[in-house]
Symmetry: C2
Subunit: 219 residues, 2 copies
């Protein structure tokens, strides 16, 4: 039996390992979980005991195959619930994280596969993040950060790196929701801000920060 708290730690470790490629440090986990390093050490011992992580004192941790499977299943649940909340209940993409965080812990035999069927087997969640299938396989997509585009290139918004409500709401305001098209007109060398044009002819200036947090697919 894996507790909710344990599940959350596994997910946090998975998330860190995704970005960093090396063993996840106690401090990084504490930051991700918004708790103290001491609490993390406590939990790491328990997770190691259950063979969900490989843990060596002072050396950070890595998920075992089993731990990785648990984390992947959780992410699948989280993202499917997000699709449900947005597509079926009409929530906006900046409102669903906390709800999905709770829903992902609901345990039940067929629940998630039935939900998946009900939603039409979506491959990406409302933020453009891939949803692993029942066997833990991920969908990939040719996407790059907006900041890497060259002037003249056209692209469509496919996802975000920063998932904060503030960023998502700002994108809503700009009309840069998933699928929105755009063309990079120029990059100002002074601060790396970007001038882009939308299909309806509007021109926007986006900060470097926006460019580094928005994924697009070049068309």
């Amino acid at each position: 039996m894996i507790s909710h708290a344990e599940e959350n730690y596994l997910k946090a470790i998975f998330k860190i390992s995704e970005k960093e490629a090396k063993a996840a440090s106690t401090n990084a986990i504490a930051a991700e979980m918004q708790t103290t390093a001491a609490s993390v050490t406590d939990m790491l011992k328990r997770l190691a005991e259950k063979n969900l992580i490989d843990y060596e004192k002072y050396r950070g941790v890595q998920l075992t195959t089993e731990g990785s499977q648990v984390a992947t299943a959780l992410i699948r649940k989280h993202r499917l619930w997000e699709v449900f909340l947005v597509d079926k209940l009409g929530f906006s993409w900046d409102e669903v994280h906390d709800l999905a965080e709770q829903l992902e812990h609901v345990q039940g035999n067929n629940l998630i596969d039935r939900l998946d069927t009900f939603l039409g087997h979506p491959k990406f969640d409302p933020h453009g993040d891939p949803i692993p299938d029942a066997e833990g396989r991920w969908s990939f997509r040719q996407q790059v950060l907006l900041s890497t585009l060259k002037p003249g290139e056209r692209a469509a918004v496919t996802g975000v790196d920063d998932h904060s409500p503030a960023f998502l709401q700002y994108l809503d305001q700009l009309g840069l929701t998933l699928g929105a098209g755009l063309e990079l007109l120029e990059r100002f060398p002074y601060d790396q801000s970007l001038r882009v044009r939308t299909p309806d002819g509007r021109e926007l200036v986006l900060s470097e920060k926006v460019g580094q947090n928005l994924f697009v697919k070049i068309s």
Copy 2:
């Protein structure tokens, strides 16, 4: 802040009070919660401290107005999720209790009202139990136990008193799902078993126990 465990106790007390009309006893709560009397006493102190119940040592408990509101909201959530699981995800009525038991604890501003809207504001759950509205008002229905029918009377199934999967599955097998019509042909005095006819002409003999656990509306 009310914990999941506290919520479950409030719901249990509500359920007992519904049937018994008098103060709920420690033992009755322990039975309903499948735990020990000592654990119940512990919890009752906490609930009383939070003004969710009126508690006097050795005298049983009653919900306060606030406690009753919490319990009602929980029941609303539980039953709406059951409708979702049956109507949208295709679960059968004997499979949804445990899932709804978890889903009812998910906290979120508009979640339940949005779910309610999505489901079309159902008034009854898949077992025929009423779903209180957002203000805590209950729907009532003219229903009686099948065992109270007189020979010759026709009725339709509206709900169950026994919610066990075994009973629900048996009813499925008999074709006595919600809305099913029937006519009482005779009651055998020997064991109070009932001979009934269904609209498609089938005749069934139902035990006294079935008659005392099936609600019907006389037509």
